[in-house]
Symmetry: C2
Subunit: 457 residues, 2 copies
């Protein structure tokens, strides 16, 4: 599909640069979930991608290239943003304020706390959004469609409309959206909502997030066009990883770790919304109440650190490690370690583990979608059960075939794990087939097609 | 007004018992905000009040009286509840679960945490609600109207309907109500909502709480009758305290503490919803940015401990004390203490301070009503300004005359305090008169009359 009229705007881009052994700056695939989902959809289409240069190497590479690099099927315009301003935009507003707000993660008696410094950070957020809007306006051909990604860039649609009233823009949130009660706390809520509502349409992964966004908008007299279009996993991509030698090698590690035990698996960033601690508490309760399961089940937790510059994430990581140590100290024997915990991000190994789970635990307190709950069934070879939080966006798609759970309720979670582990083979097989069918029901490019259908003539 | 057909049901009753010097059990007025507001409305009407016996003395007095005591114009049926079950009902479910839920005070990555013990506590909550329903069913005359108070007794309306389909019941929440997103976390949400919705009507202090309750009900297919009826302060009662010798004596303490400084006042329980720490942080910011105010303003904080059996309240009290010490250490001089902090509950002294404030700060993160924001203007003699959180129920009534603030925003709060302290006399006088008019617009018995009008033929 040739779509040179398309401009993608996101914080992270599809390419990052590192120096090879010869000291040359060479492009590699950029990190982050958004890029790995959205990237392949526009790769080779001639579309332009506007993103921030993240590392010093990125900056240098972009400077050398005059701001635009073409590589790996991407045309990337990367922005050189002053580091102090980028921190205001990224650490303070995007990740410490808006992420917490949209996920409802704040401890309201104490956080958020808006002060003068926060206001300066918001000015930085606005300024960085303007840099993105400037670049998008600059790159967009006549009649272009600009796809603005996520909570980092909430103000871009309104800024773009000012700069280029001729182009059409769509904003998509990969997160939930704040409830009307919570967004009232944000001093700049109206600016944020006007920023978003200026898009030709605003998209979400689930009906609930759309409804919350509409309710927030209605409270300030706005009624933007909205849509729901959940991302789908790329079966070909994950299938080729599953068939790779790296994955086969990692499978050896998994076999070693789990022996002939049943496997409960989670694969997550260490993130407050992911509810990792309660997942382990539920497992502890299960082992406490079901001595017969000791030595016969292993919880494999492939969870890797994230946002470690933020103190809340450092604290949460510590809490995760503490509960893992406690459960392992309490129950482990010479032959059996109840929790196999690994905090290295290793995609082939994650896929090897996804092939092998009996139960995939996906228990976020709130989550925009949670793609892994659809990736797992595509590669799993054990008729694995998916136990998923009813607060995840993906629950809307999986509810007929997965087991639902209340993420705040460790007793229910323990019961669901027990039910999953002892589920008769026939039911496991039937559910696994249904999960696979749901995961394949939407193609990865449906997400893009849905959006273009909204604005294409 | 004779209303012997009326039954009030609440956790705390209008009488508590203590031993006098001769060792005799004698009744005194019971504690708590609800009793002091609702009590006078039914005193002497012949209505029956069903409440828990709280102290050992209460239990003994009730046992001696055969379960019903008549004293001080009240007819009280007090319930002897097994202490362990009462703790499940009061500490675990009412105060650690439902209070946090309705006020949105949980730190969702960590709390709530529902486990087996919590489920047992819920069984206790249900059992205690049944004791209240039994007693109300027992006491209610033919055609009675039963007024059930607050979040402690959410299941009573449905239980009462089962036991006495002939009586009419009204449930009133003195708190906000959980948002639909938050109530989904409660494993027993449906039971709670069915419990409430069985009342002939459900009441709230503000439109927003009613809307949240209706949205929660709609999500489970319920559409109860609802109403909004904010309580009003009793001007005669508070006026007589203001004219008392105890108050005059306390005024000496206040004068001593504040000298000829301007006075910012807060009067609160030490409670996570009251936002005491951010109030002091805003004041600190004010002193930092306005050196001219140092030595010329005093923040009088009459805040007294509450629910000290709960660890969250102990922790919050410590945070409050820490910030007070820090601000006082940072700014105090030999002659001037920036914050006068007192944690003794002394009503005449609170009234003496209310007479004297230049600014009354009422900045909760969320609050069902907040009666003190209407009591202050009734007795204040300094044309005092009221600075009130837009998240308090009382904001709906006061918004035309008070200064509004975002409780999460200490910069805005500091600006509002500065504006209040420097407000021209003419504007202060005009606003104070308007506040007084609003505070008097509803009579205390309007709250009762509103409810009876809903069910009286």
């Amino acid at each position: 599909m040739a779509r040179s009229d398309l401009v993608i705007v996101s914080n992270r881009g599809p390419l990052s640069f590192t120096r090879d052994d010869a000291g040359q700056l060479t492009p590699t695939r950029g990190g982050g979930g958004l890029v790995s989902s959205v990237g392949p959809l526009v790769q080779g289409t001639g579309a332009t991608w506007v993103a921030a240069a993240i590392s010093d190497d990125d900056r240098e590479a972009m400077k050398a290239a005059g701001g635009v690099v073409e590589a790996e099927g991407y045309r990337l315009r990367a922005l050189d943003i002053p580091p102090a301003q980028y921190r205001q935009f990224y650490d303070v507003v995007s990740n410490s304020t808006l992420w917490f707000l949209h996920h409802g993660l704040d401890d309201l008696p104490r956080r958020p706390l808006y002060d003068r410094r926060w206001r300066e950070a918001w000015d930085g957020y606005r300024a960085v959004n303007a840099l993105f809007a400037d670049a998008a306006a600059d790159e967009a051909p006549d009649g272009a469609v600009v796809l603005v990604q996520d909570y980092h860039l909430s103000l871009v649609p309104a800024m773009l409309r000012e700069r280029r009233p001729d182009v059409r823009s769509i904003h998509f949130h990969h997160t939930p959206f704040a409830t009307p009660t919570l967004i009232r706390a944000l001093p700049t809520a109206e600016e944020l909502l006007h920023g978003l509502a200026a898009a030709d349409a605003c998209g979400f992964h689930a009906e609930r997030w759309r409804a919350d966004f509409e309710a927030c908008c209605a409270a300030v007299g706005l009624s933007p066009r909205t849509f729901v279009s959940p991302l789908a996993p790329d079966g070909d991509d994950i299938g080729s990883v599953a068939a790779s030698s790296a994955c086969a090698e990692a499978a050896g590690w998994v076999d070693e770790a789990v022996g002939d035990c049943q496997v409960i698996l989670r694969v997550d960033r260490i993130e407050l919304s992911k509810n990792i601690v309660r997942g382990f508490l539920a497992y502890e309760l299960l082992l406490e109440e079901r001595p017969d399961l000791r030595g016969r089940v292993v919880f494999v937790a492939l969870v890797y650190p994230s946002r470690q510059s933020l103190p809340q994430y450092q604290a949460y990581r510590q809490e995760v490690q503490t509960v893992v140590e406690r459960v392992n100290n309490r129950f482990s024997t010479g032959e059996w370690l109840p929790i196999v915990f690994d905090d290295h991000d290793d995609f082939p190994r994650s896929v090897a583990a996804l092939k092998r789970y009996d139960v995939l635990l996906v228990n976020p307190v709130r989550d925009g979608l949670n793609l892994v709950a659809k990736e797992g069934p595509l590669v799993n070879e054990c008729s694995g059960v998916v136990a998923v939080s009813r607060e995840a966006g993906v629950w809307d798609e999986l509810s007929s075939a997965a087991l639902g759970l209340n993420p705040f309720d460790i007793a229910e979670t323990a019961d669901v794990l027990a039910a999953a582990l002892s589920m008769p083979a026939e039911e496991r097989g039937r559910r696994a087939a249904a999960l696979r069918e749901i995961a394949q029901a939407r193609r990865p490019d449906d997400w893009l097609t849905d959006q273009l259908a909204l604005v294409d003539p």
